[in-house]
Symmetry: C2
Subunit: 299 residues, 2 copies
Amino acid sequence: VHAQASAPAGAASAPHVRTTADIVDGAPASAWRRPDPNDVLAMTLPAGVVWIELAPRFAPRHAANIRTLVAQHYFDGLAVLRVQDNFVAQWGDPAANGDDASRLRPLGAAAAGLQPEFAISDRGLKITRLKDRDVWAPVTGFVDGFPVAADPRTHRAWIAHCYGTVGAGRGNTVDSGNGAELYAVIGQSPRGLDLNITPVARVLQGMELLSSLPRGGGAMGFHDKPEQDVPITRIERLADMPEATRPDIRVFRTDTPQWDELVESRRNRRDAWYVHKAGAIDLCNITVPVRIAVKPAAN
Amino acid sequence: VHAQASAPAGAASAPHVRTTADIVDGAPASAWRRPDPNDVLAMTLPAGVVWIELAPRFAPRHAANIRTLVAQHYFDGLAVLRVQDNFVAQWGDPAANGDDASRLRPLGAAAAGLQPEFAISDRGLKITRLKDRDVWAPVTGFVDGFPVAADPRTHRAWIAHCYGTVGAGRGNTVDSGNGAELYAVIGQSPRGLDLNITPVARVLQGMELLSSLPRGGGAMGFHDKPEQDVPITRIERLADMPEATRPDIRVFRTDTPQWDELVESRRNRRDAWYVHKAGAIDLCNITVPVRIAVKPAAN
């Protein structure tokens, strides 16, 4: 039995059917938003910059604590210290995994522990819903570019652990996270983490700098030799960069007709190569387009 | 609203509840199978060996053609020529993407094109079914360690595009694939490829050697400079290795009570760290355990 025998052919090459690229390229300026520069972080690694957008709507305490840490230059000189294949890349203070607490970098004005922010109330939350099934939650969709799941029965909504979701590591107690150790999902969406840990952000651009790092040799992908650690040159806030040279960042809105058309173009691919229309899409298969224009430094 | 307020605590640390590691470590020899050495390929890259198991049940024509290519040492000296972030790593003849057909390595006794094997009949196919929802298909489960989706209405079953699934690249016509150019999924499961292309195998071990490769700089992650290509030292069949030094390979069976218990341990994680039981698992979140014991070469 071959798929092409029953595949709907023809429509794929009809000229009025736009591919995802057509939709993004043809979208008006109003289909894009500029994220708040207070919420955008640039993490500079030896290989380039990972751009991250915080989610204060979902994790206000963690977002505030991370901003405090960044303002103190807490992360500058720390490292990516864990890369577990098909799971996460994690960064923070390498001394946190050692026995000598005196070597820990001080948190300064930041809190050492925070009440968890695993979910928020769904009341009043405008989710651009997907009509597709989901394995894990009754409702899925997008809020401000973040992939979100929700359960109307418990009135909870949360950022889903998709590729590129950034969360705050924690220990065995739920209030032991503080945003000083962060991870990004680099593989198949580990949605089993949802409601167990606080998602705080998502990577806007530069995921490949994390996902292509060598995997750690220790348990759970932690680096078992200090020389495996990938140094973080610095993490700085977009708002703290000089306005004249601040990159122009645009994120595709997820509450517009263009967004709806983009989602539909992922659900039923319009490229002629596809002979079978899936008629479905997974929350974590949808990438929100981002454009970052770096301005040349003035000399 | 915090998750831990309604999370079922306590059971997680009950001593009779076994974690996934407990289940695998405690499984009897009968819970493991030895794959047919005719179906196991060792792809040697500069950084190590990627172990691959062919799926002749799902793609008999492609599996036979790949065996013919391997017997001719077709792949030896070719390269990984495409690495697209959150999608696939692809290997084959770098000349296939150039303009000079005279530089192509000859296929020898292998066919240049094959009828597609996007799906097989589900009649008589024993699928260890998951009870969980799936975004894409009415039925999901495992057959001989392969993640499988099926549709009882059309009586089709197919290997799902999960992390580690290997498929045969094709051009715009469905019969243009032949197994000489292969890809492995390195990111979020691109299930939209299901029923559009022929899955032929899955990676048993060594995925991190593909998933951590630098991403290609060209369109769709193709390498845009020849020096980006990662050379394939060789691909050889387990059956062609000397028996005395042939590695002992065991793959966890997916049709046993131990398997059922393993799946349940992924659905509701038993580690004390988890405060929320998901009560669900995605087909592509379940890893089939593999043990490969390399024997020292005789001197």
